[in-house]
């Protein structure tokens, strides 16, 4: 294949620029606050999808438990917001004022010890990144050091997602149970439920996502990224060359977990609650399909895939709720059987050559609209 002007560092940066233009300018100008908030919610899933591209696409580690990390990040943020919302004045009708309402309903009379540090915003923000990566580190070290990978790893992560959901639902007094942590109001006195706050949070979220994509691009272009690809394709050969494969795998798994945690925290801020329905097996595997539809090898593709699948889900569920599961199932099968490289693969094979031809004829390249048409 001839080299296109859209490959290499310049092409990737161009792609990030187009995405930035789309999420920072086109979408905010064309959508009302409600729809924009929805897009913001979808973009929080894109954090996980981007992490999965690195973890699954580059390094070949399929984790079916990314919902765990998304949920943990979200819960860390929600715990801080909940504590702020349940100050003694707001909760004075409870039998124990000053603790979250669901604890009062479950006859708890004091704040559990692990909730205490979440009074501090700094601690909570650190926890959003550190708690998911710490868990990922434990899982990663335990599994990769014993050379467990592939299918077994996928099943174990899925089991952990199931365990965590049962635990959260079962321990109602400590976690809010099946309803999750709801009724979140302010962040350091700033009301997060107003339209302006939603707008601000959308831009913070989009900027963070772009930052994360740039970080992942840097990781992929580094020597580390090449080793990841090498160990995906021939793990033994990398090991025989003297690299400690387990450390690299653990690192990329932790990085993906941290990204998912950030996504979860932004989700809580924008949507205003967190519940176990974003932790379990089904949401975790849906996150994988976002990444697969976008293209498991393309960081930008994952973002478009997430947006597209969620947009389809929302519009399908509004008009034909019973058809959605059929469409979703067909999507899983279709992506695997017909388009293993997803939208990004289609873009590479069908759109890029045409753009090159256009450019060769001396016409100015118009990647923006064409790329959007391809999505």
């Amino acid at each position: 294949m001839t080299r296109s002007f859209l490959t290499g560092t310049r092409g990737e940066l161009l792609g990030v620029g187009v995405l930035a233009l789309l999420v920072l300018l086109v979408l905010p100008l064309s959508l009302d606050v409600f729809r924009l908030n929805l897009v913001g919610k979808y973009l929080t899933y894109a954090f996980v999808a981007v992490g999965l591209v690195l973890c699954w696409g580059s390094a070949g580690i399929l984790s079916l438990g990314q919902g765990i990390f998304f949920g943990l990040g979200g819960y860390c943020m929600a715990m801080f917001l909940k504590l702020e919302a349940s100050n003694p004045e707001a909760t004075k009708i409870q039998s124990t004022p000053g603790i979250p309402d669901f604890m009062d309903w479950n006859q708890l009379t004091s704040l559990p010890w692990f909730w205490e540090p979440f009074h501090s915003l700094t601690f909570s923000l650190a926890a959003v990144v550190l708690v998911p990566s710490a868990l990922a580190f434990v899982i990663g070290v335990a599994m990769f050091k014993r050379r467990v990978g592939g299918v077994y790893f996928a099943i174990i992560t899925q089991a952990i997602a199931a365990i965590l959901t049962i635990l959260i639902v079962g321990q109602q007094g400590y976690t809010g149970g099946i309803n999750g942590i709801t009724d979140l109001r302010t962040l350091k006195g700033w009301d997060i439920r107003t339209d302006e706050a939603k707008l601000v949070l959308y831009f913070v979220n989009a900027a963070l996502l772009l930052g994360c994509i740039l970080l992942c691009l840097a990781v992929r272009r580094s020597k580390l990224g090449r080793i990841l690809v090498a160990l995906r394709d021939k793990e033994d050969r990398v090991r025989f060359s003297g690299y400690d494969v387990a450390n690299f795998k653990t690192f990329v798994f932790c990085l993906a977990a941290a990204l998912a945690g950030v996504g979860g925290a932004m989700f809580t801020l924008q949507v205003g609650f967190m519940s176990p329905s974003f932790v379990g097996i089904v949401p975790s595997i849906e996150l994988v399909i976002y990444c697969a539809v976008g293209g498991r090898l393309s960081l930008l593709g994952a973002v478009y895939g997430t947006l597209l699948v969620n947009w389809a889900k929302t519009s399908f569920s509004e008009s034909f709720p019973e058809l959605w599961l059929f469409a979703m199932g067909a999507l899983f099968i279709g992506v695997v059987m017909a388009f293993p490289n997803g939208l990004a693969g289609l873009f590479q094979t069908h759109v890029v050559p045409r753009l090159d031809r256009l450019r060769g004829r001396g016409l100015p390249p118009v990647p923006g609209p064409t790329r959007m048409a391809a999505e």
Binding site: V151, I156, A159, I163, V336
Partner: protein, 308 residues
């Protein structure tokens, strides 16, 4: 934790919970047997396994209604017809799925996982559209109702005994087919070394298709048996799929004995703990222990030594 129970009461509790565990064990074994064949022997991750089971359960449900309405004289024995039909329905659907989907994906196990998950979503929605979202149960014939009293405090339900007997029969048949019959030798040869098996004249494609069908068929029978001890809804299959995979992995994926042993360990641990802790904590503790052991011993309890 043991306060307030006398010694004989404790004995009865352990006996009763042990028996409840045995019923759970039977259901686990039935579900895991099919998966042990498909996952353990063939290496295919079938996330739709739970849905094949639910298909068997719905076949039984339809059978119980049809027989009850049109041929009441057959009712005491309808269960055996239902089981045979469930086996045929799930098995032939399994063969169809293998032919249209799985056979293209033998070299890409992770993709099989995603594709069969998609299949499971489609099957769930079909069940929901056909039978409704509510859980359904079957009417048991009279001879399966009631329970036997062994002592004053220990009672065992008859349907539980029947499920256990069924499990033992099916396990014995599967063992005989896989390890004693000529066909099973072909299956094991293909799974151990596909190229060589093909070279000595075994039709590997045909073996793959029938093996997958057999695994799915057993799942159908498991679903049929499942209707006797619980009710069935469109999403019931999804509830059990993780447990079932853990049972197979924990037992050592290629060992049939290992699957049975691990089903026994997990079900007994869970049902005994359930009496003293809440149901959810018992499940969390059991699963955590299994995952913890798997992290220390990833190959599972029993290892089959195969030269690759």
């Amino acid at each position: 934790m043991f306060d307030g129970y006398s010694l004989s009461e404790l004995g009865s509790i352990f006996a009763m919970q042990g028996f409840a565990g045995l019923i759970l064990f039977s259901v686990f074994v039935l579900m895991a047997l099919g998966l042990a064949i498909i996952f353990g022997q063939m290496g295919v991750i079938n996330m739709a396994h739970g849905e094949f089971m639910i298909l068997g359960a719905y076949v039984t449900f339809v059978c119980s209604h049809l027989v009850g309405e049109h041929a009441p004289w057959l009712f005491p024995g309808y269960f055996f017809i239902a089981m045979a039909l469930a086996f045929v329905a799930s098995g032939s659907l399994g063969m169809l799925v293998e032919w249209s989907l799985i056979r293209f994906l033998y070299r890409r196990p992770l993709d099989t996982l995603l594709a069969t998950w998609g299949l499971s979503l489609i099957m769930q929605q079909i069940f929901r559209s056909t039978f409704g979202a509510r859980e359904v149960g079957v009417t048991l014939p009279d001879w399966l109702m009631g329970s036997l009293s062994l002592t004053d405090t220990i009672e065992v339900p008859i349907n539980g005994l029947f499920v256990m007997a069924l499990t033992m029969t099916i396990s014995a048949v599967v063992y005989a087919v896989l390890f004693r019959a000529r066909w099973g030798r072909g299956v094991r040869a293909v799974m151990q070394n596909r190229v060589m098996a093909g070279a000595v004249g075994i039709n590997t494609e045909k073996v793959d298709r029938y093996t997958f069908g057999l695994g799915c068929g057993i799942a159908g029978v498991a679903g049929s048996a499942f209707t006797m001890v619980g009710s069935t809804g469109p999403t019931s299959g999804q509830l059990y799929i993780v447990d079932t995979f853990l049972v197979v992995v924990f037992g050592g994926a290629q060992s049939l004995i290992g699957t049975i042993a691990s089903a026994f360990t997990i079900s007994q641990a869970q049902s005994t703990m359930e009496f003293f802790l809440s149901g959810s904590m018992a499940k969390v503790l059991t699963l955590l222990t299994v995952v913890g052991i798997l992290m220390l011993r990833p190959q599972g309890l029993f290892v089959l030594k195969v030269r690759r």
